[in-house]
């Protein structure tokens, strides 16, 4: 009986440990690399925005709806931000090239479409806002004229 209780507690502990790990990683922005092309984004020519938010979404993906709402809200309050949504299932080539392993995956691009940040899962509104306003974009004006600050990891 005691051995079974120990096993049950161990299973619960492992579950909690995994849950904590998952919560730490979920929606966290990490530095990205690579570059999107206007063709990747499904446009021939792109206006020169302050930043581009690219969201890879998928059919049947409920968290994608949450991310769409958040980026829609933030794009409305930060001038010059262009939002592009890409169906990962329909654009497998682009998803593969940018190593999109799950949806939603969010990219923050600079005006030259270089990847600055990427996050998988559902980032908080604050995390998206900070990723847009915070990174050191070598001499480029910060969107919204906000003072520069490093993104908290």
């Amino acid at each position: 009986m005691i051995a079974r209780i120990v096993i049950a507690v161990a299973v619960s502990g492992a579950t909690i440990a995994l849950a904590v790990l998952w919560r730490r990683r979920e929606g966290r922005f990490d530095e990205g690399s690579g570059r999107f092309t206007p063709a990747d984004l499904g446009v021939v020519k792109i206006d020169r925005p302050s930043a581009v938010l690219v969201e890879f979404y998928g059919e049947d993906c409920a968290p994608c709806v949450t991310v769409e709402k958040r980026i829609g809200k933030i794009a409305a309050e930060v001038p010059g931000v262009q939002v592009v949504s890409i169906d990962a299932g329909a654009r497998m080539d682009v998803a593969d090239r940018h190593e999109v392993r799950r949806v939603p995956t969010l990219f923050v691009l600079d005006p030259d479409l270089h990847v600055i940040w990427r996050a998988s899962g559902v980032p908080s509104e604050d995390a998206i806002r900070t990723a847009l306003l915070g990174p050191d974009w070598a001499g480029r004006p910060s969107p919204n004229g906000a003072p520069r600050q490093r993104v908290a990891r």
Partner: protein
Amino acid sequence: MSEKGMVDKNGMRGGAGLSAVLLLVGFVFQWRAMVPAIGAALAIGSLFGLRYSPLGATYRFVKKAFRLSIPVEPEEEPPPRFAQTLGFVVCGIASLLFIPGWNAAGWTLALLVAGLQGLLATTGLCIGCEIYLYAQRFKAHEVQA
């Protein structure tokens, strides 16, 4: 997003938490009948839809009885339904393993289900749903290739 049936993700998480606890209690007291019982509950959700799942119904009952103000978080049904199918299959195999007396193997599978259900309850991470989405992407990849 497609116009398919929606389910409450919090209901799914509540039901997952309940099934995890029941499986762990079943393991501690060696109530082998708990495994096919949970398997049957998952099978009902899988075959008829999550709104008919006894686990989800228990969550709704508790929510109503204690007037809990947990918001409804809509989610499309196919991925969690697929996840319930996986849970049912694993519980089914575990139940079959009990018949010849392979208890350790049976409980290992049951505890695996308990762990994954616990993960869903505590984080919202549904491994079965992720497998479903990967499979959908793989299928789309094959079609494009």
